[in-house]
């Protein structure tokens, strides 16, 4: 793992955050749109109103889950940056020892310091893996939320079909909702893929 790789993860996190936030805002707007439509049509669309309400509530939960995701990103990046820094320290001690043929007799403290850094790095790597695991867990929760949202969209489509006689453009609203959910799902999937490659990198390199 190098700094470039970490920077790649930082960029991916930022892009994912932007994309998820935008898509969630879009979901929220679609849900509100549906609720406004329902309100404008009175009791005739009460069934769809329940769906729209559930869609909006789920969108709020997704938003909360996404914010938890963001909370875990910074410590992970910080942990990896520290590991990189400490790896460099350990590396410099290692180079010093390699430069001196009598290092094990003349500089016993160097060996001790190097070992100490390596222990620290191992501990930090374990901590980073923990954070990454938590992060992946948060992503998993987010994905489950998105799946529930997709289920609500399906219900919305059924309700829209049932209420077709009212003339309200519910099918279009449901399609828009579905698209917004798909955008979030895609952004999360791509982010998860990024994190999993980081996990893989961590387990092979460290």
């Amino acid at each position: 793992m190098d700094i470039q790789y970490i920077m790649g993860v930082v960029d991916a996190s930022f892009a994912a955050r932007q994309s998820i936030e935008k898509a969630l805002r879009d979901i929220d707007r679609r849900a509100l749109n549906a609720m406004v439509l329902v309100k404008r049509h009175g009791n005739a669309l009460a069934g769809y109103g329940v769906v729209a309400q559930a869609f909006r509530e789920r969108a709020a939960i997704l938003k909360t889950s996404a914010s938890h995701l963001q909370e875990s990103i910074a410590p992970l990046i910080e942990a990896y940056m520290r590991i990189l820094q400490h790896q460099r320290f350990a590396q410099s001690f290692q180079e010093m020892l390699s430069d001196s043929p009598l290092h094990d007799k003349a500089c016993p403290n160097l060996i001790s310091t190097r070992n100490k850094w390596q222990t620290t790095i191992h501990e930090e790597e374990a901590a980073a893996r923990n954070i990454l695991a938590q992060l992946l867990e948060a992503v998993q929760t987010l994905q489950e939320g998105v799946e529930e949202q997709e289920y609500i969209v399906t219900n919305g489509r059924i309700e829209a079909a049932l209420a077709e006689s009212t003339g309200a453009p519910l099918m279009r609203v449901s399609r828009d909702m579905g698209e917004a959910v798909r955008t979030v799902a895609q952004a999360i999937r791509s982010y998860r893929h990024q994190l999993e490659s980081l996990e893989h990198e961590s387990s092979t390199r460290l």
Partner: protein
């Protein structure tokens, strides 16, 4: 004056008056309809009775004269003619004035002497003119037929056994034994003049009975005194019902009237003939759908007892409640709605852990919704109340203007909030008069344009989800937008520069501006430049939406949409920087993510391209309310698409059912419909989307809140 009796009397009297007016107009096209004649008679009779209790002598006397006239008409001693219809309608107006005086605690003064005299003379047969009894009244000048000699009324005025003059009334009712019986009633109310006019001999009376029943008259076999003595009084209503049942349309001397049809259905020849001899008012006919007349006619054959029983049942299950009490209940439900919102918000903040509380909140929500809709229904009234004055308006105005009109009324059964019914009475009258004056052409002009001589005005009420649309449309000449614009500039309503920027629709909508009129001369009907702006203002106050569609040469349609209820207003909360506002959901089309590439400048205004076809003005709420425009890209900006423009806000928060509290301490012209209390307990101002959009349309988007302050802050 007994105030308790007055409180009961007034609403009932107004209902009777409205019904009487409606029936009188029906008489114009169907002068021989016994049912209608009896109904108008009963109305005057009941009005007189109530007025007697209140010691309103002049009202008693006035209704007595009208009752006199109607008595002659229903007994076919006299035949309805145009002069009588006019006199009855004018008489109804006088009664209306008298009722208003009663309502304000005064004892009504005497009615116009001249009209009173005329009614008495008409009742005495002095102005009786021959009219055709076979169909609608053709003309005031048409001669009338005297009552055919074979017409034998079942009201006999003759000396009684005691030697007193009186009236014998006959009725058919079940006897105590449950069989059908015929009963006689003696009253002493007949005046000497009535006696002279209505008198029949005993032999005639007996002959009529024999002709009807022969020797099988109900009650003939009854032994004298078997329960009859205790039931020898009948009400006028029962009497009328018995007459109807006995005779139907085969009463002696009764001739089947021609089928009533709108003038538009007449042949061209007869139209031409009518036009030559008749004043235009006779061409006004009213059709309703579903037609109450048709319903009544179909029910006319039902047994008398069943309809009386139904009326009794209805009376037992209905309750007259003071509107103020309903308003109080509605206000309390409003407070309950606000409390429900706060409860939901507070429980929502507890999070998902507290599932019991969430469930309770949902159940409270459902219960409050149910209470709200039940109470809302209490205030609903059928549009019939709003529409029933319109035939008279059309009749009078068309006569004044020399135009021929058929009025079609649709959706009288559609129900709407009482506040709307009460407030729309004036605007509806104005819309119709305006349509008659400006929209409908003279018969000759219509013919020249290849149209039917008789114009058609349609008034319709339709349910649209949680709204009701009331539409007034005509097939007249339509509105010439260029002419309207020119007049608006001439009258100083807008400047020439503003006129140049107007779209065609905006130009047509100039008719709703205060001070606008296309008439240079003020007439009874129009020309003062007030009226259409009042219509618009009333619609705005009722949180409605006004729309006008016109096609030159083909006609104009003005539609008004109102929420079903005025008590609760669903709103969308929005954030403008740090402040929260609300916008009525009814004014919102959808919520948009604003894209910079869709923003354009056009005629000094920022406009937004919604899709390939729709371009609408942008309303920057930051610029209007904060005097600082929202900066797209630098701060969060979302769009709310309304019917008149795209409102730019910082964030859309969510919707809620709210209760509007008036903010009458602000200047008349402001951006707000009122205020409400949000679920979080904050006071939130409710924006008026129409006013915001109109301001931008009129002044461009450079105007700021300072403009409105200059217009007059509180």
């Amino acid at each position: 004056m007994d105030m308790e009796i007055l409180q009961d009397y007034l609403p009932e009297a107004r209902e009777l008056l409205e019904k009487a007016q409606d029936d009188t107009l029906r008489l114009e096209s169907d002068p021989n309809n016994d049912e209608v004649l009896a109904s108008v008679f009963r109305a005057f009779h009941t009005l007189k009775g109530g007025a007697g209790f209140l010691e309103a002598e002049h009202l008693v006397s006035w209704t007595h004269h009208l009752e006199d006239l109607l008595d002659k008409l229903r007994s076919h001693t006299l035949v309805v003619n145009g002069a009588m219809i006019d006199a009855i309608l004018r008489g109804l107006d006088v009664i209306d004035d008298m009722l208003q005086q009663l309502a304000s605690g005064e004892n009504p003064g005497p009615g116009p002497e001249e009209l009173g005299q005329l009614i008495q003379e008409l009742a005495a047969g002095k102005h009786a003119e021959q009219v055709s009894v076979n169909g609608p009244i053709e003309s005031d000048a048409t001669p009338s037929n005297p009552l055919p000699p074979e017409a034998t009324p079942l009201v006999s005025q003759r000396p009684t056994a005691a030697g007193e003059s009186g009236t014998l009334l006959v009725s058919q009712r079940p006897t105590a034994a449950g069989e059908s019986g015929l009963f006689l009633e003696h009253t002493e109310s007949a005046s000497p003049r009535e006696t002279a006019a209505d008198e029949i001999t005993d032999a005639e009376f007996e002959a009529t009975l024999d002709a009807l029943y022969g020797n099988k008259a109900p009650g003939m076999s009854d032994t004298p005194g078997s329960g009859k003595q205790n039931s020898d009084e009948i009400s006028p209503e029962e009497f009328e019902q018995v007459l109807d049942q006995l005779y139907g349309k085969q009463a002696p001397g009764y001739e089947q009237p021609a089928v009533t049809a709108p003038v538009s259905a007449k042949s061209a020849e007869s139209e031409q003939a009518t036009a030559e001899i008749a004043p235009p008012t006779q061409s006004v006919s009213t059709t309703t759908s579903p037609s109450p007349e048709a319903t009544n006619a179909s029910k006319a054959t039902l047994p008398v007892r069943s309809s009386a029983a139904a009326a009794q049942e209805a009376a037992d299950t209905t309750l007259r409640v003071d509107a103020a009490r309903l308003d109080a209940v509605m206000n309390q439900v409003g407070e309950l709605v606000l409390l429900r919102n706060r409860l939901s918000s507070a429980i929502g903040n507890l999070g998902e852990e507290n599932e019991d509380m969430l469930r309770i909140a949902r159940e409270v929500d459902i219960t409050v919704n149910d209470i709200q809709s039940t109470v809302m229904r209490l205030r609903m009234q059928p549009c019939k109340r709003l529409f029933q004055q319109l035939p008279r308006v059309v009749r009078d105005a068309s006569r004044q203007l020399g135009k021929e009109v058929t009025l079609e009324i649709v959706g009288e059964d559609v129900e709407i909030d009482k506040a709307v019914v009460d407030a729309l009475s004036g605007p509806m009258t104005h819309l119709l008069r305006n349509s008659l004056d400006h929209g409908v052409e003279l018969p000759a002009d219509r013919q020249a344009a290849g149209k039917a001589r008789s114009a058609k005005i349609r008034v319709a009420a339709v349910h649209l989800g949680d709204k009701v649309r009331i539409e007034v449309s005509d097939d007249g000449r339509g509105i010439d937008s260029q002419f309207v614009t020119r007049k608006a500039v001439e009258k100083g309503v807008i400047t020439a520069e503003q006129a140049a920027r107007l779209s065609e629709q905006e130009a047509v909508e100039l008719i709703f501006r205060p001070g606008f009129s296309t008439n240079d001369q003020v007439t009874d009907i129009s020309g003062r430049g007030v009226g259409m702006d009042v219509v618009k203002e009333t619609v705005r106050k009722l949180r409605g939406r006004l729309d006008i569609q016109t096609k030159p040469g083909l006609g104009t349609s003005i539609s008004m949409e109102f929420p079903l209820t005025m008590a609760v207003l669903p709103v969308l909360y929005l954030r403008l920087r740090r402040e929260i506002y609300a916008l009525p959901v009814s004014s919102i089309e959808s919520l948009l993510d604003i894209q910079e590439s869709r923003i354009h400048r056009m005629s000094g205004r920022s406009v937004y391209r919604v899709d390939g076809t729709e371009v609408i003005p942008m309303v920057d709420l930051g610029r209007l309310l904060h005097d600082r425009p929202l900066r797209l890209g630098s701060e969060p900006v979302e769009g709310i698409l309304t019917e008149r423009g795209l409102i730019m806000v910082s964030e859309v928060l969510g919707n809620e059912d709210s209760v509007v509290k008036p903010i009458d301490f602000l200047a008349e012209q402001n951006w707000y419909q009122g205020a409400t209390i949000s679920g979080k307990g904050d006071v939130v101002l409710i924006l008026d989307a129409g006013t915001l959009a109109n301001h931008v349309i009129e002044h461009g988007d450079d105007s700021t809140i300072m403009d409105i302050f200059c217009k007059g802050a509180a």
